[in-house]
């Protein structure tokens, strides 16, 4: 029984909506002393235009590495982009009828253009993602200097503005120019430029429902609460109206009451700005609340994908089932939580086998020797488990029949 990982490719044709990004057989490895760690090992999924895709998994399953690969933030070395592609359609590309660009292949300069502009990211810990030594104003303003210098120049005559001012609007001034800008003939223009940036920053902060943004612009990150810091980060990320927003556990460091507000905010902004979101989380209940589709990752592989509805009402993979059963709820008796025994396997040079076979209560011989590919088990539901038949998704392994039904 051999299966390939490209089975899922069929979904590309079946998708009725246009795609924003398509990950194909992505492999990201890390060179460690003990060997090569296969952190992401053949991951494929699509992000459709305007949807929220949830990428769920436990610590170390490779979900953050997958997300960071989109904007090439995986440090290299030790990281190695070992294969696969991430195709990305920006709005302009789609309007112009152009094809996708492969984010792993484009030159560094082009990536700088895309990063923070077309693809933006919100990080897990807002305390660490903001620079403690810079004011909120200068950190949000940086996005505009980097990507929106034409907006800054607008009241100063756009591209007809003097070269000195054009360079200032891109933060490219050298020390001599900075000195000149302080002198009377230029000072008024510099002030105007600064005021324009302030307006842009205040508008961006206002978007995230920060009350009285002008008052917090001069604050430093430590002066703000966690929820407020996360709002600043969201303002920064959405300032350029990106096509794709990557949210890497944006609420893990926050309290539940604040978390709910931040998620409301992201959902509202997403609707208004028509941004697609890749939402990464370890919290299944959260993903159920906010995502349209879900991809479940385990040990560097995707084990199940589908619409939120399908995956949560009828989980197919033993891992997904185990994960959902392990969430405490009112239905559980104390001491009777369904835990998944064992621990995540080492990802150093892993053998060809189902990654979950060491913890799966239903594993049989084939699980230990062959790699299961994703098979279709529903309209948009795929699963990587030998229990299901490749052709029609019916249950084939006798040991599992009883469990599945």
């Amino acid at each position: 029984m051999t299966r390939s990982h490209v089975d899922i490719d069929t979904t590309r044709d079946r998708a009725t909506q246009p795609l924003v990004a398509s990950v194909r057989d992505l492999k990201v490895y890390f060179q460690a002393k003990a060997g090569v760690v296969h952190a992401v090992d053949g991951v494929s999924f699509d992000i459709r235009d305007g949807e929220t895709l949830g990428l769920v998994g436990e610590t170390g399953c490779g979900k953050s590495v997958t997300a960071r690969s989109f904007i090439r933030l995986v440090p290299s070395p030790p990281g190695i982009y070992a294969g696969g592609e991430i195709d990305f359609w920006s709005t302009e590309a789609r309007k112009g009828g152009r094809g996708p660009i492969d984010l792993l292949q484009i030159p560094h300069e082009e990536m700088l253009e895309i990063r923070g502009d077309r693809i933006a990211m919100i990080f897990q810990d807002p305390g660490k993602a903001l620079n403690p030594a810079l004011s909120i104003r200068s950190q949000v303003a940086e996005v505009f200097y980097q990507h929106r210098s034409e907006d800054i120049l607008e009241p100063l005559g756009g591209e007809d503005a003097p070269r000195l001012i054009r360079r200032a609007a891109r933060q490219q001034s050298n020390s001599v120019e900075r000195f000149l800008l302080k002198l009377p003939p230029w000072r008024a223009k510099t002030e105007k430029l600064k005021e324009r940036v302030n307006v842009l920053v205040a508008d961006a902060l206002k978007e995230t429902q920060i009350p009285n943004p002008r008052a917090i612009m001069d604050n430093y990150p430590h002066e703000l609460s966690g929820g407020m810091k996360q709002r600043v980060l969201i303002a920064q990320a959405l300032a350029c109206n990106p096509d794709l927003l990557i949210a890497d556990e944006p609420t893990t460091a926050l309290d539940v009451t604040i978390q709910a507000r931040i998620l409301e905010l992201i959902a509202e902004l997403q609707q208004r700005l028509e941004t697609s979101v890749l939402y990464i989380s370890h919290d299944l209940s959260l993903v159920k609340e906010i995502c349209d589709r879900v991809a479940v990752m385990y040990a560097g592989r995707i084990v199940e994908t589908g619409t939120t509805e399908e995956v949560f009402s009828d989980p197919k993979h033993p891992y997904t089932r185990g994960l959902m059963a392990a969430v405490p709820s009112a239905l559980h008796k104390r001491g009777e939580l369904a835990a998944i025994e064992g621990t995540v396997p080492e990802l150093v040079d892993p053998p060809a086998a189902c990654r979950f076979n060491t913890r799966c209560p239903f594993a049989v011989e084939v699980c230990r020797t062959t790699d299961p590919g994703l098979v279709m088990v529903g309209a948009e539901h795929t699963v990587a488990c030998f229990a299901y038949d490749t052709s029609d998704g019916s249950v084939v392994l006798p040991t599992l029949t009883r469990w599945v039904s």
Partner: protein, 480 residues
Amino acid sequence: MTSVTAEQGGQPPTAAQRAVISVRGVEKYFPIKEGTLQRVVGNVRAVDGVSFEVRPGETMGLVGESGCGKTTLGRCISGLAPPTGGKIYFRLPDEDAATLDLIDPIPESDRTVQQRKQVERIDANHRVDVMSGKAWRTYRRNCQIVFQDSFSSLNPRQLVKDLVGRPLQVHKEASGQELTERVVSLLESVGLGRQHLYRYPHQFSGGQRQRISIARALALDPEFIVLDEPTSALDVSVQAQILNLLHELQKDRGLTYLFISHDLGVVRLMSDRIAVMYLGKVAEYGTAQELFEDPRHPYTEALLAANPDIRAEVSVMKGLKGAVPNPANPPEGCRFHTRCPVATPACGWEVDDAVAWLQARELLAAGLADVQRRSKFDATLVFHDEESASAVVRAIHDGDMPPAMKAALETVSTDGSSLVIRFFPVEPVELEDVDDGHLTACLLHTERRHQTWPPQTSADSSSRTAANPSSTSTRNSSTR
């Protein structure tokens, strides 16, 4: 009473013993120091008057958001940090508890010699922070703690054998071969084994490290364990393993737990009774079932509403506006009123709330120059010009101000560019029994909801505000 005098804290629990831990009005303030002389300019009230009891064999849950003081309280109870006020007792017999109930309300100076002696004796035997040496040793054996972050609570340079065997060595329980065997049996009881004896903490996964922490806590066969967020650093599948293990150990060894967590689902599963904390105070207290099925405090309701439920058919996550107020300057009345969706005029509106409301409005805040406070409820807002002052008055009357806050205003009067605002002063909201052991600190669920509003202005309250004009102006709120 003489027979009890001989009693030491070391006695095993008897039928007459109601609580393993009795927390009575515990306060923990952290001083804020400033200047070269490090003068104390204020206090962060991390825990501000908390009382409850933990009964033998039960799990008491302590739940709340970060910064509500639940960890600090856990540290006070386990003797790691002395409380700055209030008392914590270990194995307090019922009769002594009754004695204390009688004596505690009497001020220190009015007590008779006999009463003082009684308190001294009880304190020496049972009160955690002033215990006599022998009682203290017994307490240390019987109260253990498991911390949240197993990485920083296990010494990275020690082997598992030394980590788990350390309490046995310190208390001279075992040594040599016997020690090793005891450690092995402890490791086996938490699902590890002999093969793990000679490894360092970094060689284990998070779940395994937490098991080592639990084994260490069990080493002296304690009666009571403080579990400070034992699973919040773990993945959900491993969390389930640890929670099951904790329950099994409790069943087998008759342990009593204080379970501290911010995760409502976990607390609900593990606890018999739960205290919900907010800003250093207990907001609601009751059995797990009461609390989850019939919450009597808006904060508990808000926590439940914000918690996503994986098994709910449809659930709407709802958050709370605003942030947790500064515990160095907690709100008056009910501490939750600044974020409460159902706050009434009687909930403790004060000058700080009005200033915060003002500062959230860019146009109004721009004109504010200074706030001169006479009391928490009475202040003069000084504006740059008359126009800004009258704009604020208009905003107050046009319904831009929350109706509850507006109704709590006693007077609003302008005098040129300054605006005097005075709120009706209110008393702090205390916990009240609303349903046979179900306690809540919310006006809406107690008898006080029937009170008339506005309150009768007594001469007493007005003289108090008038007699206190010495408070200096604070905080320059200019937003230039």
